[in-house]
Symmetry: C2
Subunit: 717 residues, 2 copies
Amino acid sequence: MANLDKIMKPKSIAVVGASTKDHTIGSDIMKRLQEYNFNGKIYPINPKGGIIEGLQAYTSVLEVPGEIDLAIIVVNAKFVLDTIDQCHQKGITGLCVITAGFKETGAEGAELEKQLLSKVKEYGMRCVGPNCLGVVNTNPEIRMDGCFAESLPERGHIGFVSQSGALGGGILNILKDLNLGFAQFISIGNQADVNAETAIEYWENESDVEQILLYMESIQNPSNFRKLASRVTKKKPILALKAGRSAAGASAASSHTGSLAGADKAAAALLKQSGVIREFSLKNLFSTAKVFANCPIPKGDRVAIITNSGGPGIMATDAVCEYGMQMAKITDATKEKLRSFLPSAASVKNPIDMIASAPIEHYQQTLETVIADENVDMIMVIYLPFLGLKDIDVAKAVMEIKAKYPQKPVIGVFMTKSEFFSKLSDMNVNMPFFMYAEEAADGMNRLNQQRLWMSQPEGKIPCYDVDKSKVESIIRKSLSEGRDQLTTLESIDVLQAYGIRACKYGLATNEEEVATLGNSIGYPVVMKMTSKTTSHKTDVGGVRINIQSESQLRAEYRDLIAKLTEKGLIDGLEGVIIQEMVKGSREMVCGIATDPQYGPMMMFGLGGVFVEALKDVTFRIAPLTDLDAKDMIKSVKAYKLLQGARGTTPAQMDQIEETLLRLSQLVSDFKFIDELDINPLLISEKTGEGIAVDGRIKVRLAEAKSALNMDCASCCA
Amino acid sequence: MANLDKIMKPKSIAVVGASTKDHTIGSDIMKRLQEYNFNGKIYPINPKGGIIEGLQAYTSVLEVPGEIDLAIIVVNAKFVLDTIDQCHQKGITGLCVITAGFKETGAEGAELEKQLLSKVKEYGMRCVGPNCLGVVNTNPEIRMDGCFAESLPERGHIGFVSQSGALGGGILNILKDLNLGFAQFISIGNQADVNAETAIEYWENESDVEQILLYMESIQNPSNFRKLASRVTKKKPILALKAGRSAAGASAASSHTGSLAGADKAAAALLKQSGVIREFSLKNLFSTAKVFANCPIPKGDRVAIITNSGGPGIMATDAVCEYGMQMAKITDATKEKLRSFLPSAASVKNPIDMIASAPIEHYQQTLETVIADENVDMIMVIYLPFLGLKDIDVAKAVMEIKAKYPQKPVIGVFMTKSEFFSKLSDMNVNMPFFMYAEEAADGMNRLNQQRLWMSQPEGKIPCYDVDKSKVESIIRKSLSEGRDQLTTLESIDVLQAYGIRACKYGLATNEEEVATLGNSIGYPVVMKMTSKTTSHKTDVGGVRINIQSESQLRAEYRDLIAKLTEKGLIDGLEGVIIQEMVKGSREMVCGIATDPQYGPMMMFGLGGVFVEALKDVTFRIAPLTDLDAKDMIKSVKAYKLLQGARGTTPAQMDQIEETLLRLSQLVSDFKFIDELDINPLLISEKTGEGIAVDGRIKVRLAEAKSALNMDCASCCA
């Protein structure tokens, strides 16, 4: 388990590179630690000694009389390694290296960082940074602001990890406005040792951290991230802003942090599978954090809206519906109660419009009535200023009622002056307030997302009984011939060895064999060329369908041979596959692609000619759990087609799910599979099964060779 | 032309119902008019006379000695009609009826409103309201705050129309925070006379109004709105928030304002075709308004980003790319110049990262260098607070440079405390500032959208030479048989009469005719039943394709007759259509649907079994211009399929466009066509033509009958 106590909860801190010179980091860190009243000992370290910020400075950590938990290092990069040695001698195991000049500057810096990390490992230390803004813990028992940002941190219960130091600083500056505070903040910088995953693990059981926010430009170890995050998100929400989504953005990311930004599709899949709530702007990241900071997780998605004005009620309804939540059906008893005190012009249907004349008492009575309604899970309270009412009084009155009912989320929408929000930020609030209904609806949607995730059981990665050795021998053969691409025939054999339903077939290499095979499979059949050199068979006319008889089969075969000869493609031809012709109009696609950083990704969606134009496909990182597979199938639009639109046979969802899971097992067992396509996975009109009608498999040559010379003991363990 | 001068630029105002009683509308209006220093005469009218707010009150407008331009009426609803009579006697032609109790309250109120409107028309008056918040004109020559909102209005150049009075008031309250002001504001209330369209027309040539903002729950006269808005948007931006999008929201809308909220698809199409920028939240409505208030329309979509911090630069890049704009390619000359003063750690590639140490001079020099780059159309300047720099000083310095280059939009992203924005709101700014990069990118996207719209020529509605009388006689026949649904055969005849390419066909009613027809068209053919009672032919097995020979054709025919007899569907059968079989794998759909409020809407998209599951279709309000038709085809994902993906024949885009335009002409000529479906419009693999392979037409019976007894002189004029 990650233990960062020495860094995040130190009893004593040495600031190595402390300085008396204003506007230097060495001076600022000292000031911040003192201004924020660090609840422990501070030892400034400076070769010249003297007094720094009123404290006795030491020329080295070795001179310090007491124990030191954490060394915050701000000396020039060239002195950092020596400093670490001294820290080790002193018995320090917590480091926060603020100093820049490492990996982010090029090869030389990267080498220095490598040495830094090896010292950290050798000495059994943990290290935040280098090239970072520092660390913060606002817990009253710690009170550590070891960060050179402009503002002091606000107290709260967010754990925040930022890969961008500057951004972390900017955030510290604006949090107060948002009525939000950190419990702990870690600027991971170049994340040589401590990274987002370390923080997630460390915060898993830290009760002071109630939600975790991440700003990431890259994910260092995707599979470890997934393992940790999917566990921790069952206990507390993790919100992530992953930058570098666009190609241009990603290229800016790699020049910026020296880390490789993964493709966004893979990142999206990883975050989804981990239960992480992904936000696409800082604004939304903080709005959502504000909601989680002030709301319980609701029991359902039925929203009631209370308003004193019709227009905003309509806009709120639009937003709630567009997020796919439900407008709560207010019970008759509630309606009756509302009618007893609201004026006749008011509407007691949801949205509940108390009309413009609503006094504070109506806000209180209406909220108290609606919050008790069993059909209501969340409540939005809208206020527009009218003459005679003070916004802040309305807010206080609403919060008074809310305090009595802690179990249901209530969000305020106050379309009033920004002064109101400034006033709120100096108060203790028990519910979030926004200016606009859409922001509140967005927050409710996030609460609901977290509810769904937490109520979902954990997914399982099944292990099927498969013929691994057959696959191994097929691939060995291909490798022995120097091919990274399996033939169609080999590909289908691989699929069948893993229990994936493919259509009946056989290989024939001359007209007589073709005829015999066709007769034994039974007509109609399909004939497909299989070639070591041509992979897109359709483009060269190598696929003939709906062949009804032996004579037609013979004729098509002769025609194919003639065409290929004419095009000079005859040499690679291994023969033709004669396949049972599966009848069905629904062509799906499934397969595997490899992301350089995230590894194998599974794809599923609408196949055939539509794949590229419509892009109705979805991705997940392998290995898939049973829930991942279910979710993949449901998350494409073509799901409606699978359900059996317009009188077609409903597809066997379980069997398609299993196909995906078996593919996932295949690529887990043979990690060197680079690409795999089943296109189409035809939905049989007769049985509803998904049947692999065509397959393509490509491996990474060198990796495959090396892997197949090794034991396969670790496969599917 | 709409002339609202008497209402919006009055020289004298009578407040009918002025009161001395605090917190009444009659008192508030008087106060606001005086506090805001109305630049003309104010006459309080109250049956008791006396002094109101220091002014001599009159017992009736008839007692007022001078001329009155505008009467603001706040008396009880039952006195409104009499008041209007008196106004007429006095020669008043401008009314603003704030009084509620009209259409919004039910049938009785609706009747009262009808009487109000007929008086207004009879007397040649213009009337804002009833049931509204009032009117505002901030022009220094007018200075009219005839509105009972809490705050005084801010001066600016926005023309704002709000259908929700309360909302209008809320907006007046928060505008100052946003550094935005109105030129004129009209709360249209029940829009008995003056509505959004009146305001748009009135503001078309009003130079004080530089952009128009609309909050609408319904559009009163869609075709008039389209005509006006599509003209005015070529001169100044119109931004609209149309509420009541969701089914639940729309139902709230109709109970709220007594107006029927049109379906959102139709509203979306109408706004798009009118060049109106549609926003989905008040927040975005105002953000965009802020951008238009402070930015010129750019010359292109190439964005440069200047930042002092990497992370926000990446997020900005992501946002710019996700909006489909381009990251500007900075010229080498610019890069060289930047390198001459920026530190070596800075990045002079776009995003330009001046790094955290950037002083104010670097902001100025960098902006001045980049703004002069010919490859740059818009600039985002990002500032994160670092020690030693004051945000407001940076903003001032940037605005200083911006002032020298008025021709390019510059948007600031200052991730700093909200105090900064409060300070800005008290200053004159020449560029918009936001807290987050995504907001700035969104604004740039809107500028670019307006640029594209303004640079687009005006669309033309073509008029083709068609056989109208043939269509008329086909429909007459159907009507005479009491059918609102044309048979397939009739439908295809109608399409052909309008010059729409349908495949060759003929009708046969017995086996011999079937065979003869098949032989004359040539094989392969398709056989389809045509019936007066069964419209979904496929569902009952009524379509047989790829019939290769006369003998197969005869067999299929016999089978069909047997099946229909078995199912009891034989009675409606008119015969079978034998059609040429068009080969093609791409099935599109096009057609007409009727929206109860917006009238006929055209649809185009991916057809076949995919229509419902994938919903890759787009809508436009008829009649279509040539540009609308082009745009429809390009705006579906299946456009890629039409272009000829994976070796298919590219579709004849012009011919498909013409098909849509001819359909549009058809429904313009025969307005009683309720539904029309061409599904599929098959793309011929041979020629790339879109060929109507099947058609369904349904008319509104009563309307059709009445129309066809009339002259058709007005058709396609």
